[in-house]
């Protein structure tokens, strides 16, 4: 799932790194609190990063003669906590990108979003939900499966958007040449059919072992969370939003359905926009206002950035509420 360089446009890469910055900040704050309680968390971060590296290196046999490897995002989240897992996986990805040539340097932000944020958090949320409903293992299995597939879906979308975002005047794509209609199904089938199950098996087996041998070594949810990280997240995001201005191409996610259709036609990929795009997501409603209001374009960027912040915050807020209530 490691996206290599030159598949994503610099604008996408920049946007995604900007989006990652506040997440990393929050993770740092969260993990520092965790370190206060268990000081071995500090070396554990590094160790977990190398563990993740080894997991991704370990080829598992799959029926049919080929092999696949697990990512271990969900597993790490359950073992050392989602925020620590986020940091550890980030370090793994950085190592792979800079020293082992696995995954791109510019695409680092995208890879981090997919594998160090989406996968552990989605997986962990499912696991917690399962725990709440007294089906811990089921929750974990679902978490591992859904986690990796969500990550794959997002990776597919990131890749598939490239022909729309960056192309020459004649419509030839500059980066990833496959549109959404190719990239998303390709990513998803591979993961739905194979990688997802490998991930599930791997996660469950290791979890089962640890649970049996040393249940106390699993991550224990802290009793109370403080609110400062959310403020930091907000400030970080708001401060970083002007970065979007630097992006020369249309930034990620800022198009409307007509443009979308126009581009798809240009590309000879599809003669009409995917129906889901037109009717399902309502980009029109979300993103077409800022120009109409006669505001300068930069203002529009900032507004939409803030909107994104808010949506993001609400999402995370929901997650946090859930983990809080479970504890009482």
């Amino acid at each position: 799932m490691h996206i290599p360089d030159n598949y994503l446009s610099p604008a996408t890469c920049g946007t995604l790194i900007a989006a990652m910055a506040p997440i990393w900040t929050v993770a740092g704050i969260k993990v520092k609190a965790q370190i206060k309680r268990h000081h071995e968390t500090l070396p554990m971060l590094g160790i977990a990063a190398s563990l993740a590296f080894l997991i991704m290196m370990f080829n598992l046999p799959i029926p049919g003669g080929t092999t696949a490897h697990a990512v271990g995002g969900t597993l790490l989240a359950v073992l050392i906590g989602p925020w620590a897992a986020c940091l550890a996986l980030t370090v793994t990805l950085l190592l792979q990108a800079l020293l082992f040539g696995d995954g791109g340097i510019l695409a680092f932000g995208a890879n981090a979003l997919n594998m160090a944020v989406i996968m552990p958090f989605v997986g962990y949320a499912c696991y917690r939900l399962g725990q709440k409903l007294h089906h811990e293992k089921l929750g974990l299995a679902i978490g591992a499966y859904v986690g990796i597939n969500t990550a794959a879906l997002v990776a597919g979308i990131e890749l598939g958007l490239q022909p729309l975002l960056a192309h020459t005047a004649s419509g030839a794509p500059l980066y990833c040449p496959y549109g959404l209609n190719v990239a998303v199904p390709a990513m998803l089938t591979a993961h739905l059919l194979i990688a997802g199950w490998v991930e599930v098996a791997f996660t469950l087996l290791v979890f089962q072992f640890v649970k049996k041998v040393a249940p106390t070594n699993l991550y224990q949810v802290p009793a109370r969370t403080n609110q400062r990280p959310w403020i930091a997240l907000l400030l970080g995001l708001a401060a970083l939003s002007p970065l979007g201005l630097l992006a020369s191409n249309t930034a990620w996610g800022e198009w409307d359905a007509t443009e979308l259709k126009q581009r798809l036609v240009q590309q000879h990929v599809s003669t009409s926009a995917p129906r889901g795009m037109v009717h399902g997501f309502h980009f029109q409603a979300l993103f077409s206002n800022y120009d109409i209001a006669g505001l300068p374009i930069s203002m529009g960027y900032i507004l939409s950035a803030l909107t994104a912040v808010l949506i993001f915050l609400l999402l995370i807020r929901g997650l946090q509420h859930e983990t809080n209530t479970i504890n009482h």
Partner: protein, 243 residues
């Protein structure tokens, strides 16, 4: 019967030498002790004998069959070799990976497809032989250093290998336990097993080992002596007392 034959073995680690021009014959039923300074290549030799590492140059034959990297590439042949040669590692930590000591010992026999009563019997016997009865339901990775050593031996014994390779099996054991282990090894030898162990403890080992292979610090064999010969060489014995 000639069981293990090494001819001009060299083994090179990426940046150091492990073994240098080593030739050696070991017959079935021998009790051999490898001795030598730290870093002289004892563990390396045991790794080669077990088929874990292939010599850089030179030949290794086990029971008349040349054990080469290509020979070992076949999983089935490798498994057959491993069944005949068991090994206890110097760092026993890496050797224990199951969820309980009983599981750990049953691991090997279970693969052989034995009946569960037979497996149960083997587990009980092995625990008794190594005096680990009270560790039966403990988790291997939570044992103390000496306990791990004994469990590791038990888990290898359960496979009933013809050749036992032991890398400093006495380390970390009490003297009483050392003697017990050596007695056990002697009994195993009496029942026809070949035993090759590395040790720094000549004093304990001299009573049981029948042949001493002495390495020097340049990774070569310095001397290869039967116990009877050794008894006539007091200066050699004095040297062994320091290794």
């Amino acid at each position: 019967m000639l069981l293990l034959k090494l001819v001009n073995i060299c083994y090179d680690y990426p940046n150091t030498c492990g073994l240098d021009q080593l030739s050696l014959d070991i017959h079935a039923g021998e009790f051999v002790c490898l001795m030598g300074p730290n870093g002289s290549g004892k563990s390396t030799l045991l790794r080669i004998l077990s088929g874990l590492a292939s010599p850089t140059t030179g030949d290794y034959q086990f029971d008349g069959q040349a054990i080469t990297a290509t020979y070992l590439a076949d999983a089935q042949r490798r498994q057959q070799l491993h069944q005949r040669i068991g090994m206890v590692f110097q760092n026993t930590d890496v050797q224990l990976f199951n969820t309980s000591v009983a599981e750990e010992i049953a691991f090997g026999p279970r693969q052989l497809g034995l009946a569960s009563a037979v497996i149960e019997q083997r587990v009980t016997d092995c625990l008794e032989l190594t005096d680990c009865q009270d560790l039966r339901d403990r988790i291997p990775y939570q044992l103390s250093g000496g306990e791990k050593k004994r469990v590791a031996l038990a888990s290898v014994l359960a496979l009933n290998p013809e050749v036992l390779l032991l890398d400093e099996p006495l380390n970390g054991l009490t003297i009483a336990a050392q003697q017990q282990m050596l007695t056990l090894l002697q009994r195993l030898q009496a029942s026809g097993k070949t035993i090759i162990m590395a040790s720094h403890n000549y004093q304990q080992v001299q009573a049981v080992a029948e042949r001493f292979i002495i390495f020097n610090s340049t990774h070569q064999i310095d001397a290869d002596l039967a116990r009877a010969d050794l008894n006539q060489q007091p200066d050699r014995q004095a040297q062994l007392m320091t290794l």
